[in-house]
């Protein structure tokens, strides 16, 4: 049944969802799009971030967003460490294509199963004052549970964008995959730059995970579903484009929300993957690529 109100709320929900997706896929845009590292474990790190927020929230009542922020440096270091292993074992040996992929697949699996062993497969949630409230604009309800993550992710997005476009290291990260020579002229060490970039990519997952568990209850294996979202966004964005990531995330968020509203939520998972398959088949250079 179709009404204008329903359409409007679906659109609003889609925009809010899309803003959040932007935060989730930002790290992959850096790792995959800019550094050419196919980190399929990215969503697993997001879920790990969610469980960190959950643990601190349920045990000490800490605000999940603050926990996410506080753990960003920790996740950054995890990312740096993971890149070192990746570089030494695969990239340097020119072996990313097969074993590098298998490596991240294994890491994803270990995180997922590890979380199941510790926390089980029950859905977990967090408590915070801004969860569970609603306000209305006209007939359209806007849950703060969605609005707060939306705002936080836009702020995070802006910070990373400014860092990448305004600082020396940020620009070096953008350049590393495209042009090694330019990087050498800048007197930057490509390995160190990639390590920094990958660290930032994983660093964003701490906060993204906290936002995720604010939005919906989570259990360890839902990370896999987000593989579709993050890669669909990264590909659609035109690999490596940060503004493109935001647009692609909004497109996907709106598409999913519309499908969930008018066809039923059980079809939603197919949207991201469907878009991804279509993008790969017909427009692998992304919406904004040449």
């Amino acid at each position: 049944m179709f009404t204008v109100d329903l359409l409007l709320s679906a659109l609003v929900a889609g925009v809010l969802l899309g803003g959040f997706y932007a935060a989730v896929s930002l790290g992959l845009t850096v790792a995959f799009g800019q550094l050419n590292i196919v980190n399929i474990a990215h969503p697993a790190f997001v879920i790990l971030g969610s469980y960190v927020a959950y643990m601190c929230n349920s045990r000490w009542g800490l605000d999940p967003i603050l926990v996410g922020l506080a753990f960003t440096p920790v996740f950054f270091l995890i990312g740096v460490g993971a890149y070192r292993i990746y570089y030494e074992s695969f990239e340097r040996r020119d072996d990313e294509a097969l074993r590098g992929l298998a490596f991240f697949f294994g890491v994803m699996f270990i995180i997922e199963v590890g979380l199941i062993m510790v926390y089980g497969v029950d859905f977990r949630t967090v408590q915070a004052p801004y969860i569970g409230q609603n306000f209305k604009i006209g007939a359209v309800g806007v849950p703060t549970r969605m609005l707060v993550p939306f705002c936080v992710s836009l702020v995070m997005f802006a910070c990373v964008y400014l860092y990448m476009s305004r600082t020396f290291n940020g620009r070096a990260i953008m350049a590393v995959a495209q042009d090694r020579l330019a990087l050498q002229l800048m007197a930057a060490d490509p390995v160190r730059i990639k390590q920094l970039g990958f660290g930032i990519g994983i660093g964003t997952t701490a906060l993204a995970g906290a936002l995720l568990i604010i939005i919906i209850p989570i259990e360890p294996s839902i990370g896999r579903l987000y593989i579709g979202q993050v890669f669909a966004i990264a590909v659609l964005a035109g690999l490596g484009s940060i503004p493109g990531t935001l647009v692609a995330a909004l497109v996907l968020g709106i598409a999913e929300s519309l499908v969930a509203t008018f066809f039923g939520p059980s079809w939603a998972p197919a949207v991201a993957f469907g878009i991804l398959l279509l993008a790969l088949a017909f427009r692998p250079q992304g919406l904004f690529g040449r």
Binding site: F109, A232, A270, F273
Partner: protein, 316 residues
């Protein structure tokens, strides 16, 4: 094709299998057939994966998708016409071969990683389709009634075990034949350097499509008897990520460049898992698989086969 020791051994194993299941020459506890079926099923899956992944360097994360499509094709055939297993197997294989061909056609002209990501996507799209398809039971799943006994095997599980044994021998033989043929050398050239392969005359796109088709066929064949084995399928069991993980981990641990690798990997890891699920929790069991996968890709990139070769080389 020349007949050699391999074929003789394969035939001997098949005959032994027949002797045990049909004529009950050696009394075997029913549990071993039950567990053995799963191990053999992994031999097929790992071997199928390796044709794409190990021989050609293209990672397929969607094994579970192919397997499940094989299984659900059987459900459809059963619902339509109560088809026998002997019909389910080739049809499931054919459907998955087409699926592989389509996937390959859409993505294989792109960089290799896009194929990998697309396979992941495909598995989830297919799962969503099945969840929403009531004819095959949707999210709640579907039952298949099978007889408890079947002539001349007696117990139905023994029959399924024998079928899977034949399929495993078939898969390994196909893989070994490919590996030693001109086609296999073309696959290896693609894995080593795709541009150089093209420039030395290798029709890379065509070979890649052959590989996805053959690999898809074998995965579908492995999934076909699944419904009869469990009696009841639901999307979450047929699309279980465990299939994807194992089909990658087994060749990587065994050694991905030869037919022997996935065979060893599947027999070893498959058996360990069967023992472990009875003795320890299934989560810990999976954690071990993941850990082994990561360990092997970092520390022993050529797998067990590579380790043995190195060790032998040093001995000489």
């Amino acid at each position: 094709m020349r007949i050699d020791a391999f074929h003789v051994t394969a035939l001997a194993i098949a005959l032994l299998g027949a002797a045990v299941t049909i004529f009950d020459l050696i009394p075997v506890n029913k549990f071993y057939f039950f567990a053995g079926y799963v191990v053999l099923q992994y031999v097929v899956l790992a071997t199928a994966w390796n044709i794409m992944g190990g021989y050609m360097g293209y990672v397929n994360f969607g094994t579970a998708g192919f397997f499940a499509v094989g299984a659900y094709t059987s459900v459809v055939l059963y619902n339509l016409m109560k088809a026998p297993l002997i019909l389910m197997i080739p049809v499931s294989g054919a459907v998955c071969a087409l699926l592989g061909l389509g996937m390959g056609y859409l993505t294989l002209r792109l960089r290799g990683v896009f194929f990998a990501i697309a396979t992941l996507a495909m598995a989830i799209v297919l799962e969503t389709l099945i969840v929403n398809w009531d004819y095959v039971g949707g999210a709640t799943g579907a039952y298949i009634l099978r007889s408890r006994e079947i002539a001349p095997f007696g117990d139905y599980v023994e029959f399924l075990f024998f079928v899977m044994l034949v399929l495993a021998i078939f898969a390994v033989t196909v893989a070994r034949w490919i590996e030693r043929s001109k086609m296999g050398r073309g696959f290896a050239a693609i894995r080593d350097d795709e541009v150089a392969a093209e420039c030395t005359g290798v029709p890379t796109l065509r070979l890649k499509l052959v590989a996805t088709t053959v690999s898809g066929f074998l995965m579908g064949v492995a999934g076909a008897p699944f419904v009869l084995y469990v009696g009841f399928v639901e999307p979450s069991s047929a699309f279980n990520l465990v299939y994807a993980v194992n089909s990658i981990a087994m060749p990587m641990i065994g050694g991905a460049t030869t037919w022997l690798g996935p065979l060893i990997g599947a027999l070893l890891l498959g058996t360990v898992q069967q023992v472990a699920t009875v003795t320890i929790s299934s989560e810990l069991n999976l954690l071990i698989v993941g850990g082994l996968l990561v360990f092997f890709v970092i520390a022993a990139p050529e797998g067990i086969v590579g380790l043995v070769r190195k060790w032998r080389g040093r001995g000489r």
